[in-house]
């Protein structure tokens, strides 16, 4: 017994299916699933016959500028047709015809027009509420910038209760003539979108290493690049980036700007509220970070610039002067006698003055180094330990209230991405899932209240 895995089985079926299509095309088999095609390809005798009122076959798909090999939404698709006898001199009532993509009616399109010069029915491809499912089938889960589509035409039935059926195809053996590449993303739109998306991601993420976009910033004396990452801010940013990118993706794929679902808004609201509540907790409670801030301010450090001033200027300038004064002192030796009321020479008096300055400089240097040492000691607990550690741990190690926020955010984020990619729409999360996110955020804020006092 041979066990065939799922992938292998799919591959075998795909190969068999492809082979059958080739054989069908060559031998004109009467496969019931295949669209019926005109029996033969007649000669071109349009000059001798009266104009036909009904196209019989599709002879080509014409591209608008003759260069582009694809047609997309909001563009015009020209389906060149011919009469039953191969005549091109048709007298067609274009409004009677409907378009079929891959055998499915493209509903709700504006009435097509007939272009006599190109002998084609011109359809304006529009995405509406009534046909968006078809477009989702066609454009969803894109792996390339175009997808192949087979075109057919059908006549609109007299009765509104009857659904039109595809009846006009390419001639048998020329099925390729009724195929075209449906544009998912145009090169211009995808370029603009890429610039917008990557620009925004750069603003948010790349610069996050150097600023406090994603970091706490509770202690302004710490340089931004060393501040701890904030889970609430990261979560809010995560949903913002995701929804923004999804919006851009959907817009360039469907040209629909009403794609943000109410659930997406609720998600942004939950993450925003969580971040605001977290900031509120930080601000409302007098936390160790606040105490550190006050302590550093009392040492003269109101911002990181004050720390830099100490490192770059105050200590080096005094050390340089100390070296100079010590050199000068060595030239004034010997030191005066350590006896009170002793008469001193001018050189000894100068030695005393320089020596006092040396002592003072040593005190000042030590003072600044001690303050700097205190600064380094006190900010240490508030320095970043790396992104993942920052957002998943508190002072006691891995914090479950942080971990659960992270996990649920990632899971729902993945669901969101897959939904947008596959369905060309922002997913409709159930109220249960949204409640889960809300509970997760509330739990985080509640535990954070205790956390800030640790």
């Amino acid at each position: 017994m041979i066990r065939i895995s799922g992938n292998l089985r799919s591959a075998v079926i795909l190969v068999l299916f492809s082979c059958s299509r080739v054989l069908w095309a060559q031998a004109a088999p009467s496969a019931s699933s295949a669209p019926p095609a005109p029996a033969s390809q007649p000669g071109n005798n349009s000059s001798t016959a009266a104009p036909s009122e009904r196209p019989a076959a599709i002879t080509a798909i014409l591209y608008p500028d003759g260069k582009a090999k694809s047609v997309g939404l909001n563009e015009k698709l020209q389906v060149q047709v011919t009469g039953p006898t191969g005549d091109t001199n048709l007298k067609v009532d274009a409004s009677k015809y409907v378009l079929f993509f891959n055998g499915k009616e493209v509903k709700d399109l504006p009435d097509p027009t007939y272009n006599r010069s190109t002998h084609s029915l011109v359809f304006e491809l529009r995405r509406t509420v009534n046909n968006k499912d078809l477009w989702t089938d066609l454009l969803g889960s894109p792996v390339r910038s175009t997808v192949p589509v087979t075109v057919a035409l059908g006549e609109r039935p007299d009765s509104a209760s009857q659904a039109p059926q595809p009846s006009i195809y390419a001639f048998r053996g020329d099925e390729g003539l009724s195929k075209f590449e449906l544009k998912v993303f145009g090169p211009v739109s995808i370029s603009v979108a890429a610039v917008v998306v990557f620009g925004m991601i750069w603003l948010v993420l790349a610069r996050a290493r150097q600023n406090t976009t994603l970091r706490d910033g509770m202690i302004p004396q710490i340089p931004p690049s060393l501040q701890t990452y904030s889970l609430a801010r990261c979560q809010m940013t995560f949903w913002f980036v995701l929804i923004f990118c999804a919006f851009i993706f959907l817009y360039i794929a469907t040209w629909d700007y009403n794609t943000i679902s109410s659930q997406a808004l609720i998600l942004m609201g939950i993450s925003g509220a969580t971040a605001m509540a977290a900031i509120g907790v930080d601000a409302a409670k007098d936390s160790p970070a606040d105490a550190t801030n006050r302590g550093l301010q009392a040492l003269g450090f109101n911002s990181y610039a004050d720390v830099q001033q100490l490192i770059i200027y105050e200590i080096p300038s005094r050390e340089a002067e100390l070296v100079r004064q010590q050199k000068l002192l060595s030239t004034l030796l010997p030191a005066p006698p350590d006896t009170p009321d002793a008469a001193l020479t001018p050189q000894q008096l100068q030695w005393q003055t320089v020596n006092q300055r040396v002592s003072q400089l040593i005190i000042e240097i030590n003072d600044r180094k001690n303050r700097l040492g205190t600064y380094e000691d006190r900010i240490r607990p508030f320095l970043t330990q790396g992104f993942f550690t920052d957002i998943t741990t508190d002072i006691n190690g891995t914090a479950i209230h942080r971990l659960q926020v992270l996990c649920w955010t990632l899971v729902l984020g993945a669901v969101f991405i897959i939904g947008v990619y596959r369905d060309l729409a922002m997913p409709e999360f159930s109220s249960t899932l949204l409640t889960l996110m809300g509970i997760s955020g509330a739990g985080y804020v509640g535990f954070k209240y205790q956390e800030v006092n640790s």
Partner: protein, 471 residues
């Protein structure tokens, strides 16, 4: 039963006189040398009696505020006062009123006469009543903090009377050093910067013996207390930890000191070492707070006089509170010094701690100075045959946490004398612990540091200390 005592723990707080803390401990007991409420000082023809401010909220347990004078010349004025006045110890109000004007507030002479009622300081009161209180324990000299703290450790201040004249490292043999040589264990437990780190003979091994208070709590909990423990309170406001000093130094709120006393007592009381531990709670000096007992004459420790006043250390300082805690001390004891074989009675002073430790752990070891040679020890206070005085199982101190505003208000002001001296001395600590005696620097005078705020003084003190102790 002294031979059952294996651990001595000393907690020394700051700058409170006996009367100011325990003066009304036993108000109806004629055998207790406390306040009668008839004591007063006169200043500018006005009489200022002792007062306690009953009903004052705990947050105001800071009197006297501002800090009274505590230099030698201040104390001399406090002890002398108006020679024509009937009350001895009559110069506290006058000295206080004539302090150099301060931004901390007016020097109302009444403040110097303040005392805390037993209800206002419930922790030390409860311990004093549950175990023993000494109403004749004097500071070793009528001097500032450092001379008296050096007396605790070395039996002398080598002639110095004020903090800022010392040369560091302090070159006198210490009790710690004696214990080290005798193979006994000891530790100093501290909060920010221990004053005892200035003892020169500890610098070679200080790094092994100085620990934070948390270590004391752990050592007590696990029954690993050393033979001798000396606990130093928090001297500086710590903005980073949001902590007010718990040293009780005026005008620091005494209730934080009460919390520390309770913390230490509870740790000892719940320790496996409880039955073999003697806990001594005392203060270094009176700090300008009124006491009615005239300091008696004292034996000069070593004949050294290194002060501009020519003071020969022939008197004790003002009385300070001292509470003796042990299950061998009968409840309600009033611990008094015994009459010696020669008929003399010397009061307790800080060198009584040296005498006690020496007699417990260093039998046969000679005294450090002539002062501790005559100092009465505390062993006779351990008069119960068995450790039967359980005392309170634990003590709850007034629950009070310093507000950020309160800490800030204590951190951005000019440092007091103790804080200024400590932070200045910190600059003399080596950056790394010396490994040999030759690496211990020669004693040097305190540098002329004038840190503008407590916060900056604190940063300098703790940074240098932590560096020196490899913390």
């Amino acid at each position: 039963m002294p031979d059952k005592i294996q651990h001595v723990v000393v907690l020394m707080l700051e700058n409170r006189s006996f009367d100011s803390m325990l003066g009304r401990l036993y108000p109806d007991d004629p055998d207790f040398n406390g306040l009668t409420l008839g004591e007063y000082n006169t200043y500018a023809q006005t009489r200022f009696g002792v007062w306690s401010g009953e009903g004052m909220p705990p947050s105001l347990a800071t009197a006297p505020d501002p800090d009274p004078g505590e230099f030698f010349k201040d104390i001399a004025e406090q002890l002398q006062g108006d020679p024509t006045a009937p009350c001895p110890m009559g110069g506290f109000a006058a000295n206080y009123a004539t302090q150099k004007p301060s931004s901390d507030g007016p020097f109302n002479p009444r403040s110097a006469m303040h005392f805390f009622s037993p209800e206002q300081v419930p922790v030390i009161t409860q311990l004093a009543k549950s175990f023993g209180v000494c109403d004749c324990w004097h500071a070793s000299a009528p001097c500032q903090t450092w001379p008296n703290r050096f007396f605790v450790h070395t039996g002398t201040s080598r002639g110095h009377v004020d903090n800022n004249t010392f040369r560091i490292p302090f070159p006198a043999e210490s009790l710690f050093h004696r214990l080290q040589k005798g193979g006994r264990s000891w530790r100093v437990y501290f909060h920010d910067m221990p004053q005892s780190i200035l003892l020169g003979d500890l610098w070679l091994y200080a790094v092994f013996h100085f620990r934070g208070l948390a270590q004391f709590l752990a050592d007590a909990h696990t029954g690993n207390l050393p033979d001798y423990s000396f606990i130093e309170p928090r001297y500086f406001s710590d903005l980073f930890l949001n902590k007010i000093p718990n040293d009780e130094h005026p005008p620091h709120n005494v209730l934080y000191g009460e919390q520390l006393i309770a913390q230490v007592y509870n740790a000892v009381r719940s320790s496996p070492c409880w039955e073999s531990t003697l806990l001594i709670i005392t203060y270094d000096e009176h700090g300008g707070c009124y006491d009615h007992v005239v300091p008696p004459p004292a034996v000069p420790p070593d004949g050294l006089v290194d002060n501009p006043y020519g003071y020969p250390f022939n008197t004790y300082g003002v009385r300070v509170p001292a509470v003796i805690v042990s299950p061998f001390v009968p409840p309600g004891s009033k611990v008094r010094p015994p009459v010696r074989d020669d008929g003399l009675v010397y009061p307790f002073d800080h060198t009584s701690i040296i005498a006690t430790v020496r007699n417990l752990f260093l039998k046969g070891s000679p005294p450090l100075t002539q002062r501790d040679a005559v100092a009465p020890d505390l062993l006779h206070a351990l008069s119960l045959p068995t450790p039967s005085n359980a005392g309170p199982a634990s003590i709850d101190a007034t629950a009070m946490e310093a507000s950020a505003t309160e800490v800030q208000s204590r951190a951005v002001i000019a440092p007091n004398g103790m804080q200024a001296s400590l932070s200045a001395a910190a600059a003399l600590l080596p950056t790394t612990p010396p490994n040999t005696a030759a690496q211990v620097p020669a004693p040097a005078g305190l540098p002329n540091t004038q840190y503008p705020t407590v916060a900056i003084a604190h940063a300098n003190a703790t940074a240098s200390t932590n560096r020196f102790l490899n913390r």
